[in-house]
């Protein structure tokens, strides 16, 4: 498919032969302050269909779900359930109308039994007391009808997450759900568990339940979904039948820019050439972790920037974390400067001159109540140990140097970190690692959510560092940025590396094609 449709549809067309939708959301708008979280988005859910809700981060998927489940109140637009207009003021109201939701994190009670969890709040009673036998019987019947093989009297916490997820679905089904919303149900499941989940989903679909499926895994969407709605930046892009939409089209709809414009972006790949004749500074041999990344090989050379490209959940962050030892790997090993060992903690990686800036700036980077100076010096001080404080003169010198070099504002070493803007915090974190004088720098989304100026400064700094011989792994959701900075691209999808290619005039659409899986036959998949 070469021709693609980038025209946003004006809303789903009502086809006369389709059955009546169970739920129809029309022109829903929600604003938070001045931000349009949803802008006249429509969604219709048909009975007996699995409907995939697609879009990148911030597209409005979860806002739309929360509008439907009564968590958020709608500013304008109507919600029809079974043809009747409804206004959901609370999750309970939505549930009463037959809309059940299973969230990504299983929010059940692990210390109660399966049956107790399924019937919590609506236990069958006898003489005012809970009728345990009736409860177990009812739970068993529901589980059997879904083909889930679990003892209802066992404690929920004994079971793996996948089973807990199925129990959550069973609970949702037990309330006579007409609509079942599954928000990222597969994010912590392995392949077998996913197929088990899909079996249950198909069973429910055949019973006429309308299922909303939110997932970042394209293969899974294509396996299970019948219809999809694509959102982007709070707007409806298209409603399509899955069978009629190629994966390439879908990715383009999700990322959605004028491709011609993208292709013309002048890339500033520097003249530097990675010295691949020598031995790699970092080598990953079959590094993997159950549920987050399949065994992956990677080689990184001095002075080169490797860009990890892929959609959210493709495994790009997971790979970075394994390379740094932030998560422990189940398989494989990381060889740094010819020294092979399994990284057990960030400490090991740091001692080998690896630095890693996490994508989650707030939770995993910033120490908000400490000063800018302390935040900058944290990694260096940690590696020196507490008994050898950094001399005051050195402190001042280092902090001043990086405040200036990275143009951090306010340029006040004593300012509290939490009072800085996101961009400046990110620069402080970059400084934290540069101060440790690393040889390998892993940057996960270093430019997310920061202003253009700071972004350009960070990009320039990365290019400069690589030119000085540092090996960099660069991750960003923005493909243009990855292409601009990288010497080599590693394309990830569905928790594995699917391709690796030198960045010779690679365009955004080239990468999109690889991600969509169309180029895989030519290149040959890599394990």
């Amino acid at each position: 498919m070469t021709q693609m449709d980038l025209q946003p549809a004006n809303g789903p067309k009502a086809s006369p032969d389709a059955p009546r939708p169970v739920v129809e959301m029309r022109d829903i708008s929600i604003t938070f302050g001045s931000v349009h979280a949803l802008d006249e988005v429509s969604l219709r859910l048909l009975p007996g269909e699995v409907h995939a809700l697609m879009g990148e981060n911030g597209a409005g998927k979860s806002t739309l779900i929360k509008a439907l489940t009564g968590v958020y109140t709608i500013d304008s637009g109507t919600v029809l359930v079974g043809g009747e207009e409804h206004e959901f003021s609370s999750p309970a109201a939505s549930q009463a109308a037959g809309i059940s939701t299973v969230y990504q994190e299983v929010n059940l009670l692990p210390n109660l039994t399966v049956a107790e969890n399924m019937l919590l709040g609506r236990e069958p009673r006898r003489f005012g007391a809970i009728n345990v036998r009736a409860m177990n019987r009812r739970a068993r019947a529901t589980l059997e009808s879904l083909g889930i093989d679990v003892d209802p009297t066992s404690e929920l916490g004994e079971h793996p997450i996948a089973i807990q997820q199925l129990v959550a679905i069973a609970r949702a089904v037990d309330v006579e759900a007409r609509v079942l919303i599954l928000d990222e149900p597969t994010s912590s499941l392995d392949a077998d568990e996913v197929s088990k989940l899909f079996e249950v989903m198909r069973g429910l679909r055949d019973q006429g339940v309308a299922i909303v499926f939110v997932s970042h895994f394209l293969d899974q969407v294509y396996e299970i979904a019948d219809r999809m709605t694509v959102l982007r930046n709070g707007k409806l892009v298209a409603e399509r039948m899955v069978a009629d939409t190629s994966q390439l089209d879908l990715v383009k709809l999700m990322i959605g820019r004028e491709l011609e414009v993208l292709d013309r972006i002048d890339r500033k790949v520097s003249a530097r050439t990675a010295d691949e004749s020598g031995s790699p500074v970092l080598k990953a041999l079959g590094v993997g972790r159950k549920g987050s990344l399949e065994a992956t090989d990677l080689e990184l050379y001095d002075g080169e920037v490797i860009g990890l490209a892929g959609l959210l959940g493709s495994g790009r962050t997971e790979l970075a974390r394994l390379l740094f030892g932030a998560d422990a790997s189940d398989t494989g090993e990381v060889v740094i400067r010819s020294e092979r060992r399994r990284l057990r903690s960030p400490r090991h990686a740091i001692d080998r001159k690896v630095a890693f800036s996490s994508e989650d700036r707030k939770a995993e980077g910033v120490v908000g109540d400490l000063t800018v100076a302390d935040n900058m010096l944290l990694a260096l001080q940690a590696s020196r140990g507490w008994l050898r404080p950094i001399p005051q003169a050195t402190r001042t010198k280092l902090v001043e140097r990086y405040l200036q070099a990275l143009d951090i504002r306010p340029a006040d070493p004593a300012a509290l970190m939490r009072n800085l803007s996101g961009g400046n915090q990110q620069k402080v974190l970059l400084a934290r690692w540069l101060i440790t004088d690393p040889e390998i720098l892993i940057l996960d989304e270093p430019t997310r959510g920061i202003d253009i100026g700071a972004k350009a400064q960070i990009q320039a700094k990365v290019a400069e560092l690589a030119a000085q011989g540092m090996a960099v792994v660069f991750i960003s959701a923005e493909l243009e940025e990855v292409l601009r900075l990288s010497d080599r691209l590693v394309v990830m999808r569905d928790r594995r590396k699917i391709d690796e290619l030198p960045n010779d005039d690679v365009t955004v659409s080239d990468v999109l094609e690889i991600i969509a899986g169309e180029a895989r036959e030519e290149e040959g998949p890599r394990a």
Partner: protein, 356 residues
């Protein structure tokens, strides 16, 4: 005068302002009740008076609270300090009683050294449970809080052990440079703690671990070592406190020595402005907090609170001080006056109110 206004504001924003204010108010209450409360007289080269008693009596709580401050800064808590103090006293007293020359200086020094070494080991045990086995601090230290009493009973054979060693009793009742030795020891340990945390990088790393453990881990901070260190230090501090308490009566009663001192210490830390949620800590605040606790105990006697209302009075004062310190409580009082509070979930509420 804008300049003085900002100056005043800066003072008001300083974290020590509320604890100091509370202490001053409490002292003023005492003076109003008994105008002679501040009188200090010199006798035999020693100072005597209510204020001197207060600083002397604050020593055990201050000592325990110092270790507690660091533990709390790492998001932990140490409930076992009272029991450790009892063990320390029991070990020291039985060593002194059992020594060949009960009254000698070396006997006292050896006994105290031995007792403190035991306390450091006990603190390290707490640290092991918390940092290596990952047990929640409140549970991990509860183990020793309960077991520790039993251990100290076993050491003293359940008897009240009385010692006759003037060097040892000087720990509590001695004077140096006209001031009580006990208070000087506590001040000395305060200075040592300040040196240990602020002259090395220990303080900064403790705070980093307490504020954001995951970010600290990813920055390579060895949080296990740090947590281990602070619990061992807390054991050491509790040990000294135990010695001072035992020296005061020249005896050890394993049942009652240091009973509930952990709660006073936690209070002193909290009053001093260190959050139980961990993070930034203030040793100076803890010093003020310990003085406040000691003053409060004195106040109960001084203004003649009936003994049956003793605990109730303390509780009310503590609640008042905590409310005073809480920015949330202060802003709640302020908002009450100006109108409805700003609720974080504003967008939802606004929508609920708007016609749709």
């Amino acid at each position: 005068m804008p300049e003085t206004a900002t100056g005043l504001q800066r003072v008001l924003r300083h974290q020590l302002v509320w604890p100091v204010l509370a202490l001053v108010v409490l002292l003023l209450v005492n003076v109003v009740a008994k105008p002679g409360f501040f009188d200090i007289r010199m006798q035999d080269g020693h100072l005597y008076g209510n204020l001197i008693d207060i600083v002397r009596n604050s020593a055990p709580v201050l000592l325990v609270a110092l270790g507690m401050t660091l533990v709390i800064a790492t998001r932990g808590i140490d409930l076992s300090v009272g029991a450790i103090a009892a063990i320390s006293a029991a070990v020291a007293c039985t060593r002194i009683v059992g020594a060949g020359d009960e009254g000698a200086l070396t006997t006292a020094v050896m006994a105290c050294t031995y007792a403190l070494a035991v306390c450091i080991v006990l603190g390290a045990w707490n640290g092991f449970l918390v940092s290596v086995l990952g047990i929640q601090p409140i549970i991990a230290t509860l183990v020793l809080m309960v077991a520790g009493r039993g251990i100290s009973m076993a050491i003293t054979d359940g008897q009240i052990t009385t010692v006759h060693n003037s060097w040892f009793s000087d720990l509590a009742t001695g004077y140096v440079l006209t001031l009580p030795l006990a208070f000087l020891i506590a001040l000395g340990i305060t200075a040592l703690t300040a040196l240990l945390t602020r002259r090395t990088a220990l303080g900064m790393l403790i705070e980093a671990v307490g504020i954001n453990p995951e970010a600290s881990r990813l920055a390579g901070v060895r949080s296990r070592t740090i947590i281990w260190t602070v619990y061992a230090f807390s054991g050491f501090c509790a040990g000294i406190a135990g010695l001072v308490i035992a020296a005061n009566t020249n005896s050890v009663n394993a049942n009652s020595l240091g009973l509930w001192i952990e709660l006073d210490a936690i209070l002193a830390v909290v009053i001093g402005g260190t959050s139980l949620a961990g993070g930034r800590f203030s040793l100076l605040g803890t010093l003020v907090g310990a003085l406040f606790i000691a003053t409060l105990a004195r106040t109960v006697n001084n203004i003649g609170i009936p003994s049956e209302l003793n605990y109730l009075f303390k509780a009310v004062v503590v609640i008042a001080v905590c409310l005073l310190q809480s920015p949330k409580a202060r802003s709640a009082f302020r908002v009450r006056r100006t109108g409805g509070p700003a609720v974080p979930a504003a967008p939802v509420l606004e929508k609920a109110g708007s016609p749709s």
